[in-house]
């Protein structure tokens, strides 16, 4: 087992209970509205916290990183598919990196 494989197993071990246990224990009970709200907002909060400010150092060059981020923001805002956003961001980074001697 490599370190990554152990990590994967551990990730599965913490993911499975929140998927499986409610079936047996929660049944029909509703979670308190506050907890439901909190769970609802976690994905948005974590994406925000992950993106900024670390996106600025993504490639080690602030200009090419920022260019990639801006391209991704524009494509994402207009609801382009995830792969278009991904490729657009990489292309913008690649092109800008050329000009700033990356």
């Amino acid at each position: 087992m490599t370190k990554i494989m152990i990590l994967s197993v551990l990730m599965m071990c913490v993911t499975a209970p929140s998927r499986i246990l409610p079936v047996f224990f929660l049944g029909e009970r509703k979670l308190p509205p506050f907890v439901e709200s909190l769970l609802h907002y976690i994905p948005y909060a974590v994406l925000g916290a992950l993106i900024f400010p670390d996106v600025l150092t993504a490639t080690g060059n602030i200009y090419s990183s920022a260019a990639g981020a801006v391209a991704a923001i524009i494509l994402g805002w207009y609801g382009r598919g995830i792969l278009v956003v991904l490729v657009g961001g990489i292309l913008a980074t690649y092109i800008t990196g050329h000009f700033f001697g990356m």
């Binding site: 913490v14 998927r19 499986i20 409610p22 047996f24 976690i42 900024f52 994402g76 609801g79």
Partner: protein, 249 residues
């Protein structure tokens, strides 16, 4: 329990059943997964995983968002306990989905079958299952629905991983941005639709930046910093925009 009482009166037409019907219903999910799965493979490669490790992770974890976050934390050098903690927190939303689906399963399914159905449940298969017009869901239907997505996720990861290897080196160097582009692509369409979500995401960004740039927190581990910012931002959302009052989603 209501479902159990109802079943005696409900005729067969009110149950979504059949493995093949599940497969057909799940096909749109599979198509939708391909880009993210390919992206996952690309990121695994960027994060330095081997092909086997990438496929292994997609197979047994099968949780897009937490895999992306885990890869990100690996890249920025977080420790294993932090990554596991982040995964646990991020997947707590499954509690709501599993309990909601559990109520719609045909009563009297064995514990093992129930567990397997919920183990494979994702945001997408949950959404599709919830939208079925039949009030009850048979286990075979759920197996079919879930397995299409699961297989596509694993195959897509492999495609993304091997696809990356054929790219020229200078393009591969630009791929550090890939993870962030992916996060942006996931986040923006939803925050465009919902002001509370946008404010929560912006709060997360602000807190994350604040922790990173405040001198006394500068030594704080980045993974812990991100989890702290996440918790506080979600708390702000839950306090300022409680669900059901401001937004029905």
């Amino acid at each position: 329990m209501d479902a159990a009482k109802e079943i005696t009166n409900v005729n067969e037409a009110h149950i979504a059943k059949g493995f093949a019907y599940g497969l057909r219903t799940g096909t749109p999910i599979a198509v939708g997964y391909i880009p993210s799965a390919v992206a996952c493979g690309i990121l695994c490669k960027t994060a330095g995983l081997t092909a086997f490790e990438s496929i292994f992770m997609s197979l047994i974890v099968f949780a897009g968002a937490s895999q992306f976050v885990a890869l990100n934390l690996l890249i920025i050098g977080s420790s294993m306990p932090e990554i596991v903690l982040a995964t646990a927190v991020l997947n707590m939303r499954h509690i709501m989905m599993s309990s909601s689906i559990a109520r719609r399963l045909v009563p009297g399914i064995g514990a093992l079958k129930k567990s397997w159905i919920c183990f494979e449940l994702t945001d997408e298969s949950f959404s599709i299952a919830s939208m079925q017009k039949e009030p009850l869901l048979a286990p075979e239907f759920m197996f079919g629905l879930n397995i299409v997505g699961h297989c596509t996720w694993v195959i897509g990861t492999a495609l993304g991983f091997y696809g990356t290897s054929v790219l020229p080196q200078n393009v591969q160097d630009s791929m550090g941005i890939a993870l962030y582009a992916l996060f942006i692509g996931l986040l923006l369409p939803s925050v465009r639709e919902s002001r509370p979500a946008m404010i929560v995401a912006a709060t997360g960004m602000a807190l994350s930046a604040l922790i990173k740039w405040t001198p006394c927190f500068a030594d704080m581990n980045r993974g812990i910093a991100i989890m702290t910012a996440t918790g506080l931002a979600a708390l702000v959302g839950a306090v300022v925009f409680p669900l059901g009052k401001t937004e029905a989603r």
